[in-house]
Symmetry: C2
Subunit: 300 residues, 2 copies
Amino acid sequence: MASPNRIPEIRTDTVNNRWVIFSPARSRRPSDFKSKSNPSNPTSQPECPFCIGHELECAPEIFRVPAAGPDWRIRVIKNLYPALSRDLESSGELGGRPGDGRVALSGFGFHDVVIESPVHPVRLPDLDPVEIGDVFMAYKKRIEQLQCYDSIQYVQVFKNYGASAGASMSHSHSQMIALPVVPPTVSTRLDSMKEYFGQTGKLSLKTKENLQFLQAIDLGRLLKLTLRKMNVQLNSPPFNFMIQSSPLQVSPTQLPYTHWFLQIVPQLSVVGGFEMGTGCYINPIFPEDAAKLLREVSIS
Amino acid sequence: MASPNRIPEIRTDTVNNRWVIFSPARSRRPSDFKSKSNPSNPTSQPECPFCIGHELECAPEIFRVPAAGPDWRIRVIKNLYPALSRDLESSGELGGRPGDGRVALSGFGFHDVVIESPVHPVRLPDLDPVEIGDVFMAYKKRIEQLQCYDSIQYVQVFKNYGASAGASMSHSHSQMIALPVVPPTVSTRLDSMKEYFGQTGKLSLKTKENLQFLQAIDLGRLLKLTLRKMNVQLNSPPFNFMIQSSPLQVSPTQLPYTHWFLQIVPQLSVVGGFEMGTGCYINPIFPEDAAKLLREVSIS
Ligand SMILES: Nc1ncnc2c1ncn2[C@@H]1O[C@H](COP(=O)(O)OP(=O)(O)O[C@H]2O[C@H](CO)[C@@H](O)[C@H](O)[C@H]2O)[C@@H](O)[C@H]1O
Ligand SMILES: Nc1ncnc2c1ncn2[C@@H]1O[C@H](COP(=O)(O)OP(=O)(O)O[C@H]2O[C@H](CO)[C@@H](O)[C@H](O)[C@H]2O)[C@@H](O)[C@H]1O
């Protein structure tokens, strides 16, 4: 492969009006799944770089929970194969939307990994609500740190579970990517929520803002329950979750309709050419039926 | 599963400002891949409903090439498990963009399958350029038929090759879905090309319009070469291709910057939470390096 050491770049796709991150370093990251064809079964490897005792095999730590001592429960670390580089000078040229006329930016940004448990076989829904709440509080703390960089405009928090949902490491973790641009889906969502709010006076989403620790535990309880129901009813599918939020800088007039939410996407079908071409999804099940299905499972 | 016989519906996702098609019938379609985990190897089944001699196992034919006689080379048929239904009354309410205030439409539309060869093991790049050209001419003919329906606003032509690119049938085929709405990616692309044209006087794409038979053969030759190079250099990956075009109704002022193109997407990595959340893609290889890689392969 050509130029594996080139620094990352963010380029505008002028046809589709979106940003693409080019990051040759990413091609070298390891995978501890036997093969992409076995979606959720990691190799029976008992230990990996994300395990307690293997801290030195990882990229540097940003912080841990609890804050000091060897017995951590959560670690926020740098990604060893980052899509964006924190070392690139922010060019002053950054910010704005694709289509501004600037066709490429240097790939400045942050890419972190949140290790959710010190122990290899533990999965997120195995944690108790307080422990999941701690993971949310770790996201929050890291977002607050990233907010201090003027040129960072958006932080995407996400989790890939299972190889066919994109995961390359099986040890329970999520990721955070801080971008010097506002991604197109985020501005579209904001415009769309504004339009709906303007037309109806209603919010298309109702969520709590300002996440506090007690709310984080509530959310932890809800996420645990949802994932467990999904595992029972949908046969432990690979899944992604994303914290969908607003740009870091929002104006006071945008506040009434900007809310964050957690989106969980179980991987039950494959995206085909229709979805890629149109951006429209074909769903074989109506949302009210899917909700009923999940409501009906009883979890002991 | 609840309500498998409900008619399809197109609903607005008011958060993301996009359409979602709900189609319970889709969940019943068969798959002749042994398991989704083996991306490109169909079961060694020698015959399927798409094979010559099995026409009666298929949904009704729309037309064939050549137009009459039992020895067809291409068949355009109705999809037996359509995402949209051609039988639903067009409601008069159709058209427009998500966000118009209308939250659901009846799922009116057309969903066809283009069988590209009468014989099971033949893949698209095995055909000669003239035969591939015939496939493009079949798309064109069908689009011209669909254009006669006032309420059809966009036709998406696409191909899924290999189970991990979404294919459920291994016999060489592509699909066409005619929609009563303009999908969001299409309007975004049009806006984006307009902006680029306005700023630079240049087209972000250079393609031929009005596809004639000789051009179709040229395109067939190019597609065959590209797919064969991709197979050699990237180890026969699953892939999708999409014909990206403009809405069926374009105004004369839009003509200078509306062009269609063929997009080929080899499936080399999995879309993860970051891409789902942001709509931004992370690419481990720069486009100029990928182009070099393909340029360098020599095909005997
Ligand atoms: N020793 C170490 N120290 C620190 N970090 C280490 C490390 N070893 C590995 N890592 C990092 O750990 C991360 C694990 O992340 P995931 O398993 O969620 O998926 P990954 O980011 O590989 O790709 C998926 O998610 C991305 C983003 O959605 C998609 O682009 C991609 O196609 C999909 O496969 C990797 O990003 C890797 O770079
Ligand atoms: N006897 C018969 N007569 C007529 N038609 C028949 C038939 N038997 C099967 N079919 C149809 O043939 C089509 C084959 O299409 P593909 O293999 O390209 O993928 P499919 O549409 O299943 O789903 C992929 O593509 C869609 C659209 O991109 C995604 O929504 C989905 O997740 C992905 O798996 C199916 O749509 C099926 O309904």
